[in-house]
């Protein structure tokens, strides 16, 4: 296998995409149109979408009368669902994976602070001072706006039983960690799925491309040159990896322009793009399988939907609206993990080293490479008959 041959074949595929209207539409124009359509339909018009706020209370000093009172009062607001967790680490993990909107950490001295205040309400010198920590989902504007004020209210009026105007108190609330307020709309929840959605159509393009070249005798013609089957496949892999990256960039620019501003830092964006690019391998693999079992380019278009539809409906943003069974089925598809990783990185602001992101990256990488290898073998065995 030679790099120059691979690049020559990749260059040929890029020219096809630029010059053939059908390819240009599906690969480049369609993702942009789709993103703009969703953005304008569900972004600016959709506005903020209130949701049920799941808050975990971490009691570092164990459950006490004061912490129970805090939880009861928090629940009594009717705005949040409260759960108790024993340690901050598991709470942070649940938060980064989107299972919670906020975490409130009651320090080990919490109960002592409350009791000291009740015993000596007018003697601040005898209070045990404590600070409550709040961690919020970066992508949730509602959480950022509501939770700190609710916590403050519950702490003063509920637990300590004083007026909000009282200046000195033994309990204070830390500045909420990692808060970056942004508008939350339906589009914000859809946006990460658009990256996978756009890329999945590559299956159809790869299948059409290989079946057309086989029908026209071009595949055989290339194979009577010193180029090998491996060169042909590598040419496609290189061309579609670059196309996948270009698609991701276009979708990113579109969603950004439409108001979805990922909260990820530079490393998060890079890893997000990397995951989308690796996902292209999976689509090339499915494309090769489709080409192997299709007798013509026309048939390839239809058959490609066998692989397209499940990924579209169960593995992208559409899956969020489906039943729990359908969502569970989505876990068998690489697209699900692409969307999940991008949601964690771009919407929830998860670290690139968080367990969720690393797991998603591993699943996408391994499954994509396996599907590509299966595609190559199937095409080699049945694709050129």
């Amino acid at each position: 296998m030679k790099v120059a041959r691979t690049l020559a074949l990749a260059k040929k595929d890029w020219r096809r995409i630029i010059r053939e209207p059908a390819f240009l539409f599906i690969i480049i124009v369609f993702p942009v149109m789709l993103t703009v359509a969703f953005g304008t339909s569900f972004g600016a018009v959709g506005g903020s979408q209130p949701s049920s706020l799941k808050v975990a209370v971490v009691t570092l000093g164990g459950n006490t009368t004061s912490s129970d009172k805090f939880g009861q009062d928090l629940r009594a607001t009717g705005v949040v669902n409260v759960s108790y967790l024993a340690d901050n680490k598991s709470a942070q993990s649940a938060l980064s994976q989107g299972q919670l909107q906020a975490v409130v950490v009651l320090p080990s001295s919490f109960d002592a602070s409350v009791r000291s205040f009740r015993a000596f309400p007018n003697e601040p010198g005898r209070w045990t001072n404590s600070t409550l920590s709040i961690y919020l989902d970066k992508g949730s504007a509602i959480t950022a706006q509501v939770i700190p004020s609710i916590v403050q209210q519950v702490m003063t009026q509920g637990v300590l039983g004083v007026r909000p105007s009282q200046q000195a108190l033994p309990l204070s609330v830390s500045t909420p960690a990692a808060v970056k307020v942004q508008g939350q709309s339906v589009f914000d929840s859809f946006a990460p799925g658009l990256f996978a959605f756009a890329s999945i159509y590559m299956i159809m393009m790869v299948a059409q491309s290989f079946t057309a070249e086989r029908e026209n005798g071009l595949l055989n013609r290339i194979l009577v040159t010193p180029a090998t089957g491996a060169d042909v496949v590598m040419g496609s892999v290189v061309s579609y990896l670059v196309i996948g990256l270009v698609q991701a960039l276009l979708v990113f620019l579109c969603v950004y322009a439409l108001g979805y501003h990922p909260v990820a830092d530079a490393s998060g964006v890079v890893v997000g793009f990397f995951i989308v690019t690796v996902f292209a391998l999976c689509n090339i693999g499915f494309g090769l399988i489709t080409a192997a079992i299709s007798r013509s380019a026309g048939a390839a278009t239809g058959i490609s939907f066998i692989f397209l539809m499940p990924q579209l409906f169960l593995g992208t943003f559409v899956g969020a609206s489906l039943s729990s069974t359908a969502q569970a089925a989505g876990r068998f598809l690489p697209a699900y993990y692409v969307t999940d990783a991008l949601t964690s990185l771009f919407t929830r602001g998860a670290s690139v080293t968080s367990q969720t992101v690393l797991t998603d990256l591993a699943v996408v990488s391994v499954s994509s490479v396996v599907i590509l290898l299966v595609g190559v073998q199937v095409f080699k065995r049945f694709g050129n008959r």
């Binding site: 030679k2 120059a4 041959r5 020559a8 074949l9 260059k11 040929k12 020219r15 096809r16 010059r19 053939e20 026209n216 005798g217 071009l218 055989n220 013609r221 290339i222 194979l223 009577v224 040159t225 010193p226 180029a227 090998t228 060169d231």
Partner: protein, 254 residues
């Protein structure tokens, strides 16, 4: 394994080639040799086994039986080496319609690893030889059938190959284009290239070929120079030779 024939050292050797497609025997024990710097014509009606023979030579098809050598290489065990010295223009006009004529030719030069410094010059040369210089920058989708076939020939020859396989090279060409291709083939022969072409244009075979093999139902039924075959059969042309050998006209099919 290289032997000698009347034209010099053997460049292509086919021995006992048999190719079956299920119950159908497309080529039946074909044996022939082509010398260096020779133009060899494989003649026969459609379905006679010409293209199957070419495809076995290129390694696209695996023979049922027999051995094939191109240059010093065994096609089956040293396929990549054999393909490196061959230029092939297949029967179907396999060209990329979304590329320009020049881009198609250049792509094949790159697949053969023609040095970048030589490639531009080689592309321009072959495009001129097939009469497509003016249309080199147009997309092939805008070409006529004859023009596409000329691009296909240019793609086969851009590497300046030692051995050239041309399967029905002038089908669909107008007389002027056909003449240009014939001139190019003669020029290649003068440069010492070994050329195998299949055709059912008898005048093409008579004009170009040093030796022809007439093939029918997968079997070689006559072998010799056009003049020898005509004398031997007492025929006025190769079409007549074929009729005398098979009782049919060549265009009636196998």
């Amino acid at each position: 394994m290289q032997g000698e024939t009347r034209g010099g050292s053997v460049e292509i050797s086919i021995e006992g080639l048999t190719k079956d497609y299920g119950d159908v025997r497309a080529v039946d024990g074909l044996t022939l040799e082509v010398s260096e710097a020779e133009v060899f014509g494989l003649l026969g009606p459609n379905g006679s086994g010409k293209t199957t023979t070419i495809n076995c030579l290129t390694g696209t098809l695996k023979p049922t039986k027999g051995t094939l050598r191109v240059g010093e290489f065994d096609v089956q065990s040293q396929g990549e080496d054999a393909r490196r010295i061959m230029g092939v223009s297949p029967q179907e006009t396999a060209v990329y319609s979304y590329l320009t004529g020049k881009e198609n030719v250049r792509l094949f030069g790159e697949l053969y690893s023609v040095p970048r410094s030589l490639l531009g010059e080689r592309v321009d040369y072959v495009m001129e030889k097939v009469g497509l210089t003016e249309d080199a920058g147009r997309r092939v989708s805008k070409y006529s059938g004859g023009m596409k076939r000329r691009v296909s020939i240019a793609m086969a020859l851009v590497t300046d190959p030692r051995v050239v396989l041309l399967d029905e090279p002038t089908v669909g060409m107008d007389p002027q284009a056909r003449r240009a291709v014939w001139d190019f083939i003669i020029e290649l022969k003068d440069k010492g290239k070994t050329i195998v072409l299949t055709t059912h244009y008898m005048e093409e075979a008579e004009e170009l070929c040093d030796e022809v093999g007439i093939i029918d139902h997968g079997r070689l039924i006559a072998l010799g120079s056009p003049a020898e075959l005509k004398v031997k059969s007492g025929a006025k042309d190769l079409e007549d030779v074929f009729i005398q050998l098979t009782g049919r006209r060549i265009r009636e099919g196998a």
